[in-house]
């Protein structure tokens, strides 16, 4: 059994706000939901499945389902951090394939910018999590956990700060065309390297933005997709996995993407070189380099060389990537970049990306992300989509 061709992404919406001091988190979820349903040409009464993760206020999906007044046959609140929503698309497709629901709504929203969050502050990820007493007291924030991955990648493979900087340069080239992006100025490798070191070897411009906002997706059964007026974006394949410290056999050079990526390609029946556009979660520049290797766009250790010289810039390089400006420049709502990855992939497949970054004849796209901390333990999710 496979999800290939069993579901379509009919609605996608990125909330335009990046600073929402005057809105609640529940309100942002609902506004994102409304946007995605309107995009699909559906209403809340059509929704019979709801998916959310830990950014949704309240207990799992209960509070938001009640807030939005939904009547459901299916729910799922899988939380693997920032990539949850990529997994949700796959889980929604599974539910649709099994006949559990026909119109699945996925929402994300949060206001970390209004609340003054920073990726440099040590963050408690569950007081009773078994790892917390061994790590939280050490000052493991977000940025220094990823920085250890970068340090090891540089040591083991000779990856350079200049190569990492190219990821940010590519994102900035795309963000200049996105009127909603937080950072729209094109930056150079030199500017990235001249920005302050936050956690060695990562500079300020190696880090994603902190933004308020949200997004939503509507995944539907094939017969519903065909009844709507939107271009058909078909789910072709997906994969997911989790990787941690392996009992002390720590290896920071690879992620759970080594399992989620190949699983997604196998289900879709395509290979990395077939992909016309890739959304890859860019919490930090190093995140992209490791993921490109793990899901098969280049050999392990060659990610730095792969991203250099504009190879990720649409119209310039071989792999157009994060053409909305990504988390590095556009948006990182709720400190979780998964849903915006799917949204930009849908825009590309529909031909609705900004004309300056639209990939010609973009018929096959990938969205991939990790959630949690690449430097300790994380989930990964990969999704492959096709324009029919």
């Amino acid at each position: 059994m496979s999800i290939k061709g069993k579901a379509y992404i009919a609605g996608a919406y990125e909330h335009p706000t990046r600073l929402a001091k005057d809105k609640s988190v529940a309100q942002l979820h609902a506004e994102a939901a409304l946007g995605a349903l309107a995009d699909a040409g559906l209403t809340k009464d059509d929704v019979d499945g709801y998916f959310c993760a830990g950014d949704a206020p309240g207990l799992g999906p209960i509070a938001m389902v009640d807030y939005m007044g939904l009547t459901l046959k299916h729910y799922d609140s899988t939380d693997v951090g920032g990539c949850s929503y990529i997994a949700h698309v796959a889980h929604a497709a599974e539910a649709i394939a099994m006949g559990k629901c026909k119109v699945a709504l996925i929402t994300l929203a949060g206001r970390p910018r209004s609340e003054g969050h920073s990726g440099a502050t040590p963050r408690m990820r569950g007081a009773d999590a078994p790892d917390t007493q061994w790590e939280f007291p050490l000052g493991v924030a977000t940025v220094n956990a990823y920085a250890m991955v970068a340090a090891r990648h540089m040591y083991q493979f000779g990856t350079t700060a200049e190569q990492l900087a190219w990821v940010k340069v590519a994102a900035s080239h795309h963000a200049q065309y996105n009127e909603h992006a937080m950072l729209r100025d094109v930056v150079t490798v030199e500017q990235v390297l001249a920005s302050p070191l936050i956690a060695t070897p990562l500079h300020r411009l190696d880090c994603c933005v902190v933004s308020d906002g949200g997004g939503a997706l509507v995944v539907v059964a094939p017969e519903i997709a065909r009844s709507l007026k939107r271009p058909l974006v078909k789910v072709l394949g997906a994969g997911e996995s989790i990787k941690g410290q392996m009992g002390g056999n720590v290896d920071l050079t690879y992620s759970a993407g080594v399992r989620s990526g190949p699983a997604a390609f196998a289900e879709a029946g395509v290979k990395p070189s077939d992909i016309k556009y890739a959304s890859i979660y860019d919490s930090f520049t190093i995140t992209v380099v490791v993921q490109l290797e793990d899901i098969g766009f280049c050999e392990k250790g060659q990610g730095g060389k792969f991203v250099a010289d504009g190879n990720l810039i649409s119209g310039v390089g071989k792999l157009p990537w994060n053409t909305d400006g990504g988390g590095l420049c556009n948006n990182h709502p709720a400190n979780r970049g998964g849903i915006t990855k799917v949204i930009e992939a849908v825009r590309q497949l529909r031909g609705e990306a900004h004309p300056k970054v639209q990939v010609p004849n973009c018929n096959l796209a990938l969205a991939h992300g990790t959630g949690g901390l690449l430097g300790s333990r994380h989930g990964a999710a990969t999704l492959i989509m096709e324009r029919e």
């Binding site: 440099a120 007081a127 009773d128 078994p130 790892d131 917390t132 007493q133 061994w134 790590e135 939280f136 007291p137 050490l138 000052g139 493991v140 924030a141 940025v143 220094n144 956990a145 920085a147 250890m148 991955v149 970068a150 340090a151 090891r152 040591y155 302050p196 070191l197 936050i198 956690a199 060695t200 070897p201 990562l202 410290q245 392996m246 009992g247 002390g248 056999n249 720590v250 920071l252 300790s376």
Partner: protein, 135 residues
């Protein structure tokens, strides 16, 4: 080198891990060994992460090792180094590197265990925390 060190908050001790923290108060650094598969692991668990046997025992580590990766946190009230150290006894553990030159601390450096007091939320008996310094 005389810069103020970041204060370490007290760990949330639970029944599964209490023996580690009791030993820490005596300056002993314990790791867990599985009596079924004989492998040592980190962080310590009652059930072996390799074979899932529930028969694990505490053994004393030599407390020496090498830095596997390290990052110096610059954007903090007190600069500090977070690291993974591969113990000569086998497992790799997350820790801090202290008493080092933050501009020079590097992967491959030999280190040895040392301890730092923790801030115990007013509790008198907060255990010390295992960190590493250049060997």
């Amino acid at each position: 080198m005389a810069a103020k060190e970041r204060a370490i908050p007290a760990p949330g001790v639970n029944p599964e891990t209490a023996p580690f923290w009791e030993a820490a108060k005596q300056g002993k650094f314990l790791i867990k060994k599985c009596t079924a598969c004989n492998k040592v692991h980190w962080y310590p668990r009652a059930c072996c992460p390799f074979c899932m046997s529930a028969t694990t025992e505490w053994v004393e580590s030599r407390g020496t090792g090498k830095i596997y990766s390290v990052s110096v946190m610059k954007r903090a009230p007190e600069v500090y180094a977070i690291a993974y150290v591969t113990l000569d006894d086998g497992p790799t553990m997350m820790t801090n590197i202290v008493e080092c030159d933050f501009d020079k601390v590097a992967i491959g450096d030999k280190v040895q265990i040392t301890w730092r007091p923790t801030q115990g939320d007013g509790k008198e008996d907060a255990p010390p925390y295992p960190v590493f310094k250049p060997a």
